[in-house]
């Protein structure tokens, strides 16, 4: 199983995006995380790390890397990317950031993750394919 984390500067945006992606996600865990931890706009590496660990099937303190699922992380803008990068480095789980638009990428990742042969690379690749989606 491959887990998914949705990171946004807004906690509510992260939750909303996860809600949409979950429609397509089967039983894939999708963890939303966002906000500065005080009700404001921003992101916090520790919170993102906890979301990665949760999406990987670990507990609050991470877990044995052997037992953790890999995770694909979707991010919105600017410092969210840097904070997610710090969190990926801190987490015991194997996690990668997808270079993709956060909403479209999360939906694509959710679909790809339901494939029984899904890997962290296949899910990331599908998330990044969302960069080429035309809307008009």
């Amino acid at each position: 199983m491959v887990g998914i984390v949705v990171v946004s500067h807004s906690e509510r945006a992260a939750e909303g995006i996860a809600e949409i992606a979950a429609e397509m996600a089967g039983d894939t865990p999708i963890e939303p995380v966002g906000g500065d931890g005080k009700g404001g706009i921003g992101t916090v590496p520790d919170a993102i790390e906890a979301a990665i660990d949760a999406a990987a099937g670990g507990d609050e303190s991470g877990g044995d890397p052997e037992d953790l699922d890999p995770v694909v992380v979707l991010v919105d803008l600017g410092s969210a990317v840097m904070n997610a990068d710090v969190a990926v480095e801190l987490s015991d789980a194997e996690a990668v950031i997808a270079d993709a638009p956060v909403l479209e990428g999360a939906v694509n990742a959710a679909v790809a993750a339901t494939d029984p042969s899904a890997t962290v690379e296949s899910v990331r690749e599908q998330a990044e394919a969302a960069r080429d989606v035309d809307k008009l």
Binding site: P45, D46, S79, M82, N83, D85, V86
Partner: protein
């Protein structure tokens, strides 16, 4: 280890006071090219970091550095959190075994590497990298090549950082919010580079105070930029005749 840990706690306290004192100055620099939050964010983050460091029970240097980094990461906000704080969390591991000339160089190099990688910034992008790179290179060279005592190496590093900050004024921002301004970023001093300089100045002041010496003034005429040209030493013969004449 106790001495080293206490020294780092003292340094963090001094940095917090300095950033608080420079808060309006930093915000003013940031308001010209960014979103005018650098002073407030850094002051809040370093105040929280100093408090967290003081609350540690007889910590070693690595623990203090890691705690400060974690606190900055969660309190500073914006890109400065992961850049100033995140880099510290990872560089802290180099201080496992205390602070000496060797671990200080390793710490400085890892810190710079993390800032460059995370921010995807290089010298000339008008960022804190412009202050840190010459400072770290000068520190390493002063210790490893010139065999200077660490306190003098640090003084030279501060001097190099100062000139790095001045270097950010005439160049164009390539990273961060200031890069949206394009050529209009030219003529502005980078707030992040300025903060990095203030931090280094306080590290020097605290180190000098704990050693009981006056903070050495770097000799501005001495070379502080590492010279990687292997042929350089052959070229300083004053009696060498110009070629082909």
């Amino acid at each position: 280890m106790t001495g080293d840990g206490a020294a780092v706690v003292a340094a963090v306290g001094a940095v917090a006071e300095r950033i608080q004192a420079e808060r309006d100055h930093l915000t003013e620099l940031d308001s010209a090219i960014g979103d005018a939050d650098h002073g407030g964010n850094m002051a809040r983050g370093w105040a929280a970091a100093a408090e967290a460091a003081r609350d540690l029970d007889d910590p070693d240097a690595e623990t203090v550095a890691k705690t400060v980094g974690k606190t900055l990461m969660s309190e500073v906000g914006g890109a400065s959190g992961p850049l100033f704080g995140g880099s510290l969390v990872f560089a802290a591991a180099e201080l496992d075994g205390g602070v000496d000339a060797e671990t200080a160089v390793a710490f400085a190099e890892t810190y710079l590497e993390k800032v460059e990688d995370r921010g995807d910034a290089r010298v000339g992008d008008q960022t804190m990298v412009d202050a840190l790179t010459p400072a770290v290179h000068t520190f390493k060279k002063s210790i490893e090549t010139d065999g200077l005592p660490p306190i003098e190496a640090l003084a030279k590093a501060v001097d190099a950082a100062e000139r790095g900050v001045a270097f950010t004024v005439p160049i164009r921002a390539r990273k961060g919010r200031a890069s949206y301004l394009g050529w209009r970023s030219v003529g502005h001093q980078d707030p992040g580079a300025t903060s990095a300089l203030f931090i280094l100045e306080e590290l020097l002041a605290v180190a000098a105070e704990r050693l009981g010496v006056d903070a050495p003034r770097a000799d501005a005429t001495s070379p502080t930029i590492p010279d990687d040209d292997p042929d350089a030493e052959a070229s300083d013969d004053s009696d060498a005749a110009p070629e082909g004449d």
